[in-house]
């Protein structure tokens, strides 16, 4: 690391280009900056034309926005990837075992490894799931594990995202864009493909069909509708898988099955990849005012006539308070030490931790236990005195709603700017597919990048962008 730098740059370290970036860097050095700037514009036009946009909640005009795309790829060596994917697989196995246990025998609670209050008082815990096993015992059919890096060999899991991780369409479209813009790079550098994801997703979902399903399982994607911020992704995935994209008004329970209204009458669905939150899934069983769900779908589910992906109630596993127990959870169910590290976490529900957090607020990142998307979080070092004081008040009012973590020095990868390469902080979200016999991790994932210099917040809703993520063949 050069002097004064507190973070690890993945491209250039100690003044030397790191091995995975060698070929790319050579290419970039010779590339014409004007041409690259033009390509960058082209990429934006391409995204607009193909409609890869998202809506921002609370935006009055309902403007569709683009997630900025940076044309410098984030490159991971095969060796690094193998280690990462082994760690992710271990963790995902443990999460599924944990969920099955929590909703059945609850041995981990009996063994005292996870406090019972954490489950009992948790909004993400669904009593409706008690005593049932989803088809193939798969709870988290799709997982997006958020990983951050702080050094050459230091990878941490930041979040497990076991509910409905989004962003995979950007992983796919970013690669498509790069292939179109820089075909010459891909003939020179051997990058592992990501394009198999939709096919694998369909196969993986079909493999989780309920036992009652005869013949080829019918898979569908459930979306809240075109106004949802991730609608593009929902339609993209349905399209790429070749399955129907349904909304609640297309669905009805017919003879104990969930069926969709087609031009020729109602047709049963066997596997529903739902992009609707638990709470809205079934107005009869959960939030009665939901217009997004299907009344009675939980009863069909419990009767074993449909697979819901992900299973309801998986939120208990990616809850930020549970997160701090993850090393124990991995060890409890796999008998192995966790390969991937957890970020040190203070649970504000514990008085001593709360005191520590209040004393060190300016150095910490504080998150809501159930929050996501970067909303409602505090980045201590970036906050003003007033913001800190206000947040301290919120913390004291409801400590159990928060956890705190040290401000990590996230690694950087350069982005392309008018004045050349410039380092920005990144994270990584690989996508994991779980079926009864297989855990399949797409080599790569979504690299999110904080576009503001020095910023550590990578969420697209907070001004983050994305990069194509390359895992090299060898």
């Amino acid at each position: 690391m050069s002097e004064g730098k507190k973070y690890f740059d993945e491209m250039i370290n100690d003044g030397l280009v790191r091995a995975p970036y060698q070929e790319y860097h050579e290419w970039f050095d010779k590339a014409d900056t004007k041409r690259l700037a033009k390509k960058s514009k082209e990429a934006e036009a391409f995204f607009r034309r193909t409609g890869i946009t998202f809506n921002v909640y609370g935006d009055k005009d309902q403007q569709e926005r683009l997630i900025p795309f940076d044309l410098v790829p984030r490159i991971v060596s095969n060796l690094e990837w193998m280690k990462l994917s082994k760690g992710i697989e271990q963790r995902v196995r443990a999460i599924n075992a944990f969920l099955h246990d929590i909703y059945n025998r609850q041995e981990i609670l009996r063994a005292g490894r996870v406090p019972i209050e954490l489950i009992a008082n948790n909004e993400a815990f669904l009593p409706q799931m008690m005593g049932m096993s989803p088809p193939g015992n798969v709870y988290t059919h799709i997982v997006g594990t958020d990983i951050v890096r702080t050094g050459k060999d230091n990878f941490f899991v930041l979040e497990d995202n076991a509910r409905t991780p989004s962003g995979v369409s950007y992983m796919l479209e970013n690669r498509e864009t790069m292939l179109q813009m820089f075909p010459e790079l891909f003939s020179k550098i051997k990058v592992q493909p990501v394009s198999g994801y939709p096919k694998n997703l369909r196969r993986s979902l079909a493999a989780c069909a309920p036992k009652s399903c005869e013949g080829k399982p019918t898979v569908a994607v459930l979306t809240p509708g075109i106004h949802n911020s991730a609608y593009f992704e929902h339609s993209f995935l349905a399209d790429q898988m070749g399955v129907e994209l349904v909304e609640s008004q297309d669905l009805r329970i017919v003879n104990g099955h969930v069926a969709m209204r087609t031009t020729q009458g109602y047709k049963n669905i066997d596997v529903l990849y739902r992009r609707v939150d638990d709470d809205y899934l079934d107005p009869l069983n959960f939030n009665p005012s939901s217009m997004l769900g299907v009344p009675g779908i939980m009863d069909v589910y419990r009767a074993g006539n449909i697979t819901l992906a992900n299973a309801p109630g998986t939120g208990i596993a990616d809850d930020k308070a549970i997160y701090s127990y993850m090393p124990d959870i991995v060890e409890f169910y796999t008998g192995e030490k966790a390969i991937l590290k957890n970020v040190e976490t203070w649970r504000c529900s514990e008085p001593s931790s709360l005191q520590y957090v209040l004393d060190n607020l300016a150095d910490l990142v504080v998150k809501e236990v159930h929050g996501s998307g970067g909303y409602g979080m505090l980045v201590g070092p970036a906050a003003s005195k007033k913001e800190l004081a206000n947040f301290a008040k919120k913390l004291k009012a409801k400590p159990s709603n928060y956890i705190a973590q040290p401000t990590l020095s996230l690694s950087t990868v350069p982005i392309f700017t008018k004045s050349g390469l410039s380092e920005r902080h990144v994270d990584l979200r690989p996508y994991v597919l779980v079926s009864p016999n297989k855990i399949d991790i797409t080599p790569g994932g979504l690299t999110r990048v904080a576009l503001k210099q020095g910023s550590l917040v990578v969420n697209s809703s907070q001004g983050g962008g994305t990069k194509d993520t390359w895992v090299l063949e060898e």
């Binding site: 034309r49 339609s235 993209f236 994209l245 297309d250 969709m260 031009t263």
Partner: protein
Amino acid sequence: MLGKTAGGLYWMFRFLERSENIARLVEAGSRIALTRSQDSQTEWKSIITTAAVRKNYSTKYDSFEGSHVVDFLLRDKDNPSSVLSVVENARTNARMVRTALTTEVWEAVNENWMTLKALLKRPIKETDLPFVLGTIRQQSALVRGALHGTMLRNDIYDFARLGTFIERADSTARIIDVKYYTLLPSASFVGSSLDNVQWDMILRSVSAHRSFNWLSENDINASTIAEFLILDARLPRSLAFCTSQVNDNLNFLSENYGKKLKSNNLSDDLRKQLKTPDINEIFEIGLHQFIGDYIRMNNELGMQIEEDYRFNK
């Protein structure tokens, strides 16, 4: 295929067709306004009536000033049938049925929306009008081209075509309905400059002024024009053509699904109406009456299609 998707496709293509038809009407109107200085307000008024937005227009304007009419028809958000509104609706429907469209069709309709939204952002200057109208037609043609060139010929395609032709049939019928008196053999005499202008306008609103000249061999009179627009199956905007396309697509669907439905019967009835050997029989029934019946039946057919194929429930 989902009923909702079928409905989305049907409406997407109705809206696209409408954007094109409105552009044609404005084109015909601005032409007549240029060639005749007097009474252009009457012509603009008839265009507003043809576009079926009279009531809505009157809440906003008292007179039929050309610039108001053009603005209202092309870019007024309060007018659900303005080009800007329907292009946006078409795109919203396309988003809804994204999985049923090829990438090329989706991109074409998305680009159509982006282009026209930018183009219609500010009031249109008179000098820019031809360019704007040309762009509207061109964008619509791009979507159609992508549809023909890339989509599977299955039920998805059938619903897209149904939307196109139900809308087009309605549009042509309205053009005739509003101007029917100029097409009556009794009400016109050959060669009157008034009629020539009126006929020209009618033909222009269906982009058929040139093809008519070719076919009619200069035998221009009211009944040949009426016959052309109503019964000539060679003209892609005639009632006979539209209705036979609707009929074909409904037949494809019923073959495909193995079921004959109410809409098939209604469409057969409508087709029979146009089997009249020549235009004089229609004049005997009364042109106004005939067209009125046609519009109503076409409309009912549209609603029956929505019901038969479960667009909404």
